[in-house]
Amino acid sequence: MLLKELSELNGVSSNETAVRHFIRDRLQGKVETLHTDRLGNLIASQGQTKKGPKVMLSAHMDEVGLMVVGIETNGLLKIKTVGGIDERVLLSKRVLVGPQQIPGVIGAKPIHLQEREERQKPVPLSALFVDIGATDRSDAEKAVKIGDLIAFDTKAACFGDGLFKGKALDDRAGCAVLLNLIENRYDLPLYYAFTVQEEVGLRGATVAAYGINPDLALVVETTSAGDVPPLKKHQASTRLGHGPAISFMDRTLIVQPKLVEALVAVAESAGIPYQFRQTTTGGTEGGAINQTRTGIPAAVISIPCRYIHSPVGVLNLNDFAATIKLVDAVLKNIAQRGLPV
């Protein structure tokens, strides 16, 4: 299963190599151009010489994780987060460290040795460490280096009624959507951008969009689902099982109203369920792309995902399938009718 394979690859921001290789292998022979740019974005194209608006699809390959920033004399690793992680989710999680994928555990002082006040508060990042079973610093140094990236060690799986759990669904699920479209042929010049370093500041997309210079960009993302307690309905950004989420605004982007209307019209005429992303917080590559050169219209379509930016997220496979359908229908619509903006 493509989604499972992608989820279990490790690609913390700035080291997306494994993900890039995996995707590149699946693109070989199926696209007309394929190259990796100088920041590591994997860019493929189909129909470069076709008439019609140049469309860029983007999904980011990187995921949030940790970095080794120090090695204690006893061989325990000091860590920092890479990308936005709630530090409270880290304790006792299994991880894989560095290029050799050394297994480790995130540890802290055990409950028996904590003061009463310490138990009232979450353990701060400064008191957490990764234990790779090293006997001392020099033993640890044989396996890891400062600057090595650390990914969560999570096996992905289907469960419940059509749900799927795994790490890095943000945004491997988006990558999987794009890979699902690659066999289709659209009557327009289409660029697939699998980008790097989204989680640390939309960096890959910024340069990818500059290079491609499209007429329109569609960003395929994963976004937080808030259908969990204690959030009220209006505070839930998105809900699982209600279809892909269409953004009208986030922290980095106001989507042009005509573009939102066009996405809604396509979803409704094709009978694809959709929902609006009911919050304006968080940023996406759409913002960076929109601000490129003289301004590029951008839209964002997201798969709702619970517990995003943690060692395990949950999405609904119907939403995933509907997202593929929606992006496909939007591309066909643009090929037929031209740009909605």
Binding site: F276, Q291, G295, P297
Partner: protein, 329 residues
Amino acid sequence: MKELLRNLTAIAAPSGREEPIRALIREELAKYCDELRVDSLGNLIAFKRGGKTKLQLAAHMDEIGVVVTAIDEEGFLRFANVGGVNPHRLVGQRVRFQNGTMGVIGAEKIDDIKELTLDKLFIDLGVASAAEARAKVHVGEMAAFEHSFVDLGQRVVAKALDDRVGCAVLIEALKRVRKPANDLYCTFTVQEEVGLRGARTSAFGLEPDLAIAIDVTATGDTPEAMKLAMKLGAGAAIKVKDVSLITHPRVKDLLTELAEKNNIPYQFEVLPYGGTDAGAIHLTKAGIPAGVISIPCRYVHSPSEMVDLNDVEAAVRLVVAAMEQPITL
């Protein structure tokens, strides 16, 4: 000028929804420039030929507002901010959507005023059901504050003077300029309030030699205000710095010399917070020297912003002087 300000502030055009204000400015300027065009993000660019140097003048068309995020079963709307909106200024406010729909902002029961956050507030359209609400507005639609224009004589009060007063200054300057000595690119920008977005892409396209933004600045002339040197009625403010920009020294000197030479009242502005379009423009491509002519404004980002017409006039004269001065940096 009062009529122009009244007309410009009457329009509801939050960030990303600048169409109606753009249409009005377009109409105002049609006779006063050589070319008018709209770029891909929606910036309106009025070009007037004049000389070798490409001078970009930027005033933003958008205003702060709210955006509907959800509609509940009873037809109440939940919303998020568009730009810098303080929840404490919202309770009891009226808002107007671009299709004319009006609403008032109510709050959930709150025991402590410190608990007042945007998600405790809602818009009441005076309807009884979700279906009725949906017939009027939809999720993603934006509204602006609704507040009438008040003429206090020398001073005027309105919502969205940030930055419709800048737009008015630029419109008036373009009407008055007789012999432009530079190629003028008067840019009415979009989405300033959410991150200087229109200015950034417009400057990339224009690649000017020099840019001047025209925007409001805060004042320190009200009771127990933050210590700021800027005052209402003390003239156009020449920006020295804010968070987004340290004014290029040559641009600051140029504006100061022009004000001195033409007997235009001016003051210097140091703003310890905020930014303007000039911040985005000066970092475009290989760098563009930029400065700001500011109009001092009390109660910025409230529905009752106040400016002094003497300052507005001084700003117009300073902009005209810059347009008519052959600039070489």
